[in-house]
Symmetry: C2
Amino acid sequence: MSLGEFDLIQRYFTRPVRRAPLGVGDDCALIAPAPGMQLAVSTDMLVEGRHFVSTVAPRRLGHKALAVNLSDLAACGARPLAYTLAFALPRADAAWLAELAAGLHALADAHGIELVGGDTTAGPLNLCLTVFGEVPPGQALLRSGAAAGDDLWVSGDTLGDARLALEALRGTLSLEGSAFERCRRAMEQPQPRVALGLALRGVASAAIDISDGLLGDLGHVLRRSGAAAAHADRAGAGATTPFGATLWAEALPRSADLATQLVERQLEYLLAGGDDYELLFSAAPARAEAVRAAAAASGTPVARIGRIEARPGVQVLDGAGQPVATPWASFDHFRSA
Amino acid sequence: MSLGEFDLIQRYFTRPVRRAPLGVGDDCALIAPAPGMQLAVSTDMLVEGRHFVSTVAPRRLGHKALAVNLSDLAACGARPLAYTLAFALPRADAAWLAELAAGLHALADAHGIELVGGDTTAGPLNLCLTVFGEVPPGQALLRSGAAAGDDLWVSGDTLGDARLALEALRGTLSLEGSAFERCRRAMEQPQPRVALGLALRGVASAAIDISDGLLGDLGHVLRRSGAAAAHADRAGAGATTPFGATLWAEALPRSADLATQLVERQLEYLLAGGDDYELLFSAAPARAEAVRAAAAASGTPVARIGRIEARPGVQVLDGAGQPVATPWASFDHFRSA
């Protein structure tokens, strides 16, 4: 079935907007943030072979494309409002598009947000979403707010499962059927931690999502928080030193499927697996009970996994308190295979 | 030279933000619209071979990628505030990226806007920008506001030149050197009509940009305005009929280079050329002087080219008042070559 650009937008992506003053179909969409609110914006581009495998079910791809963007709003503690979708497709396949739209709409409905605009073109498969959320001024969770001595926390209880699924698809390990399906769902249908992000406003000192791997994303928090602290101390003069961190390997939450892998593989997937849409956040030790309350209120498991240190460098300790080697680089789209 | 993802964002795309509360480098950017303003949002994706040729100078590509997005804000009468940039690149080439960034930054500076966030990945070349502007509630220029009897106007005085350049590149016609350079600049460095869009608030009844060709984009205005008028008359009951239009072929503004082409080619490029980032807008005949004042105030040429009709169908009349054939379809990314 051949569809024109106008037809396919009309058929699959035009739904009446309830909150936005103007949705799909004009040169621009119009969004009306609540008075006094700041608008949080994030954009993510997904490319076949990089962010998803060619055999992904289109409904799951729709889910994931929106989920990874909502995860960025979650990491800022923003309440999702709306999103736009631009995509390039090799051809307009009605059945595939209907499924993609169903995956997008289902997750959007679950978060009470709406598709307000977009663009379609022919080209190599590419999905680019931009999400909008609102946050009261001064309450956004930033990467730069951690202090030395803060506890480090992570959400979720299955870090590394997305990587397990990817490696099973690549053939570097094997998983039995139900384990593979569960891990593949972790890879293809991540649940953005929006409710936790909202509950952590005023509780967490810094937050980030760990889509590029826990260690790499922790590095962003340490660099930006160290720089912010130095800037506050010295009015921006001189070089800045990043903070460091201690992590307790045994505290990192993992599934039974990952726990049966070799220890080195467990550590790599936990610390540098990638595609885990969990929140890594810091909070003052005195706020530990408030963190647990936020986790309970949002129905999200959290684990305390380490501590921010004033000296640079990240040390991962095993159960005996001995440092373990962490030779993996963070995921980089221009350096990794 | 090989650059990592983090390095290249840092080097070419991180500039201090002056207006946004938070720019590039966190999970989200933060934008603070002025109190009471609505946020206008548009997103456009550019793909090599579709929206630009592989030999385009990267500085011009940067310009064009932002210009086509700003053109959407112009068509809504919104004041540009900020934009995000997501792109996929086959490889990270420092010289190419520096030029791309220079083209983006120059046009952004010209409009007083800033890059607040983005995403980079490896993949087939693809640029996806999302722009944000602000507009007072109720003042956005929509496609749906035209009334039967309104005059039709278009901005600019060189419709069709971008198509001339494209056809010269394709080898279906030849242009001498300076004409080719001028037309190629029209194709690669369009000037978004932001100032005109702002000046037309409260003057134009409907507006659209004609990036997909004048006739096709006019069709969107006729459909949506006809539907809106029917909805207002009959509280949404029953089928809606699009409006129609009469256009005067001789009133369509064209360059000397286009005016020397065959008449049929002139008409095709004027009415269905594509890649003209001009505004097509309607206004009540009584507002003709206000339109001319808006054009003068914004330093933008405008021409009155026709009229909105209550009956559906678009008729293009020649200088003798005789209808001319208009057999060209509007550009459609899934139907055109």
